[in-house]
């Protein structure tokens, strides 16, 4: 789960980590009030959306007058931020964070994440702050220092001092840096962080260390023990289908194509998208109905898939292990009243009770008047789905002998 910058900074502040003074606004007059309360003669206005690269997309502005605070805020609120991370549709700015501007002497990059390899947390620090870390890794890898963090000791001060030395920080800043890194790690670890990125962490003209930005992602599986974090979830940042899917415990990601997918199991769901592509089609979504797929879930899955107007064909690919194929078949039939008659359904069932399942579908299809095509193998089904999506006159290019012999 992603946190907004202002939410993450709230956590940092509560742990005694230095962050600029600031406040959140959802209207331009709010923004003006915040700036007046902050006092000073320069402020930074930052769009609060879940996406990196805001600066380049016009989501971060420095202003020097109250009238600019008002004008820039009213322009920024409601605008669409489009960055590499938001996709082409972008994200609408609903809130801004107004902060006192900071006198920056030096910029540093710092992040914590989970290192799968060593099975520990890891800290990454770079002397080239304010830049995309992937770019630094590409162009100047020697500027990056990484350390694994022992889960027993946590982020020891010694480790912070060691890193500060390695990135060439002035000796007068050693202890301050180690203290900030230690507290940041505690914020990260105490809240089951998957990622905490401070870019930039800055040294001010007065020789203080301050977190100018904060991006945090928390382990969804651990939210049960962080009710306050769960309350911070901003459903406005998710696509409507993703919100709906999460209510029904379905896993959904939207894509650009016209073949909707309903699959049990994440691996098979990804493989289903891949095989559609290999036959020249384009998947409209990733959707895992999970191991406990029942009639209700199948119906909801249909509804969610069909909220995407691009969908022409729905490809149902189920390998029944624990899930019985006859139940899924019944679910498909019951849920098919959600499907308009100009769409088709291609169903591939395999595994437990497959014969009963196929029979139910064949008999039921005749009654519904819908086009329900059944297929024996994944390849066969994918090919049929692609052909149907392309329309009769333009059958998709066939791939040779992809079908496994039965």
């Amino acid at each position: 789960m992603d946190l907004h910058e202002f939410q993450a900074k709230g956590l940092l502040r509560s742990y005694g980590v230095p962050v600029p003074d600031g406040g959140v606004a959802s209207t331009a007059s709010d923004a003006l009030r915040v700036a007046k309360e902050l006092k000073g003669d320069a402020w930074v206005i930052k769009a609060q959306v879940h996406a990196g690269g805001r600066g380049k997309a016009g989501g971060v502005k420095v202003v020097n007058t109250f009238s600019d605070v008002y004008d820039v805020s009213s322009h920024m609120l409601g605008m669409k931020i489009v960055t590499k991370q938001t996709g082409p549709d972008g994200k609408i700015v609903r809130r801004t964070l107004i902060e006192k501007a900071t006198d920056i002497k030096q910029e540093i990059y710092l992040s914590f994440l989970v290192d799968r390899d060593s099975e520990q947390h890891m800290i990454i620090v770079s002397s080239e702050g304010g830049m995309d870390i992937e770019e630094v890794a590409e162009n100047n890898p020697s500027a990056i220092v990484t350390e694994r963090i022992n889960p027993v000791t946590g982020m020891g001060l010694f480790l912070g001092r060691k890193i500060a030395k390695k990135i060439g920080l002035d000796s007068s800043l050693l202890n301050k840096f180690a203290d900030v890194a230690h507290k940041l790690y505690n914020v990260f670890a105490d809240h089951d962080g998957m990622m905490l990125e401070i870019n930039p962490l800055v040294v001010t003209g007065d020789g203080d260390i301050v977190c100018l930005d904060a991006k945090m992602n928390v382990d969804e599986n651990a939210l049960y023990r962080h009710p306050k974090i769960e309350e911070m979830k901003d459903y406005g940042e998710l696509e409507p289908q993703e919100v709906r899917a999460s209510i029904f415990d379905l896993s959904y990601v939207s894509m650009d194509g016209n073949i909707g997918c309903m699959v049990n199991g994440a691996g098979l769901a990804m493989a289903t998208m891949d095989i559609i592509k290999s036959y020249g089609g384009d998947p409209a979504n990733f959707l895992d109905v999970g191991g406990g797929a029942d009639v209700n879930k199948v119906r909801e899955a249909f509804k969610i898939i069909l909220t995407d107007p691009k969908v022409k064909v729905i490809f149902v690919n189920i390998f029944g292990g624990i899930v019985r194929c006859d139940l899924i078949a019944q679910g498909v039939l019951n849920g098919s009243d959600e499907v308009p008659s100009d769409r088709s359904i291609v169903v591939r069932l395999d595994g437990t009770n497959v014969e009963e399942g196929r029979k139910i579908l064949e008999e039921g299809a005749a009654k519904t008047g819908l086009t329900i095509v059944t297929a024996d193998t994944m390849a066969d089904a994918a090919q049929k789905a692609v052909e149907l999506a392309a329309g009769e006159e333009k059958p998709a290019k066939k791939k040779t002998s992809a079908k496994a012999k039965e």
């Binding site: 889960p151 089951d192 098979l268 559609i276 290999s278 990733f286 390998f319 029944g320 992809a402």
Partner: protein, 292 residues
């Protein structure tokens, strides 16, 4: 031969009284797995469908000689259940539970690295392990498997069943199929399993099924190139997955440029692995590689 489990494996089910534990214990028994005990803290002395229940894993071992455990405990308590198995020094612990916090798994792995316990962990968030005809420890449909010479190791559940089905359709059975799980931090990894397949006389070929996210497949490829002397067929799921989106599995997320399906497929190919583009070609490729 086979790896990890066989007809001498004696299984204790942790969380036997829950709906999942109860249901799957029954299925495993039907398959022929030797389920000797259940563990439900506070319910020791009772039984579930005739299987004796103990308060602790240690007591279950003492009374029944169990040497492996399977965990169906809910996510908030599952890591603790795994640590109990490690502490009790079982040979093997298979954790089916999905949704365990990553931080809990960091603790589990730290315990496993620093204790003298011999326990090997499979999972979490996995379908389990099966040696066809001998022992099923997991939630996979037993009937699609047949004894044979192909080892299958995979991060996925249903995609593994798909591979099993295809391999069987071409007339090949399986030695042992292992679902290692789709979480970022797991027990045994590809290389651990490949080392076992290397020394298993029954296994002639290995199917490796991976997905986007992490570096495990690439590392496996490098290890295969250096050490493995049996043919490997691989498929990587998520060729069409967008960057930065979690695709169902907690670990299935493209975060850099080198954890995409394309990058992994290329790396594996360069290591001499037979990579298939389409998931429908797994069985065919196995048949081709084994020359039958």
């Amino acid at each position: 031969m086979s790896i990890l489990v066989n007809n001498r494996t004696k299984v204790v089910v942790q969380g036997l009284s829950g709906s999942q534990g109860k249901f799957h214990a029954q299925k495993m028994k039907e398959y022929g797995t030797n389920i000797v005990a259940g563990v439900v803290p506070g319910r020791g002395g009772s039984d579930v469908d005739g299987t004796p229940v103990f308060d602790t894993v240690e007591e279950a071992i003492r009374a029944t000689g169990a040497n492996a455990s399977i965990v169906y405990v809910p996510p908030a308590y599952a890591a603790d259940a795994v640590m109990e198995s490690v502490d009790a020094n079982l040979d093997l612990c298979v954790c089916i539970t999905e949704g365990i916090p990553v931080k809990d798994m960091i603790k589990v792995k730290r315990l496993m690295k620093t204790s003298s316990s011999k326990t090997m962990l499979i999972g979490p968030n996995c379908p389990g392990v099966i040696t066809p005809g001998e022992c099923k420890m997991g939630i996979m449909p037993g009937e699609i498997h047949t004894p044979g010479t192909v080892g299958i190791v995979s991060k996925s559940g249903t995609l593994t069943y798909e591979a099993v089905k295809q391999v069987s359709a071409f007339g090949f059975g399986q030695s042992t199929c292992v679902g290692i799980g789709g979480d970022p931090i797991i027990g045994l990894k590809y290389i651990d399993l490949l080392e076992m397949y290397q020394f298993d006389a029954q296994t002639e070929c290995v199917v490796l099924i991976g997905e986007i996210g992490g570096q495990a497949e690439v590392k496996a490829g490098e290890w295969i190139k250096q050490n493995f002397n049996k043919p490997v067929v691989a498929f990587i799921a998520g060729q069409t997955a967008p960057k930065g989106k979690r695709m169902g599995h907690a670990g299935a997320i493209i975060s850099g440029g080198d954890d995409t399906a394309a990058a992994k497929m290329k790396a594996l190919e360069e290591c001499g692995v037979h990579v298939v583009q389409s998931p429908a070609d797994i069985g065919k490729k196995v048949a081709e590689v084994l020359g039958k």
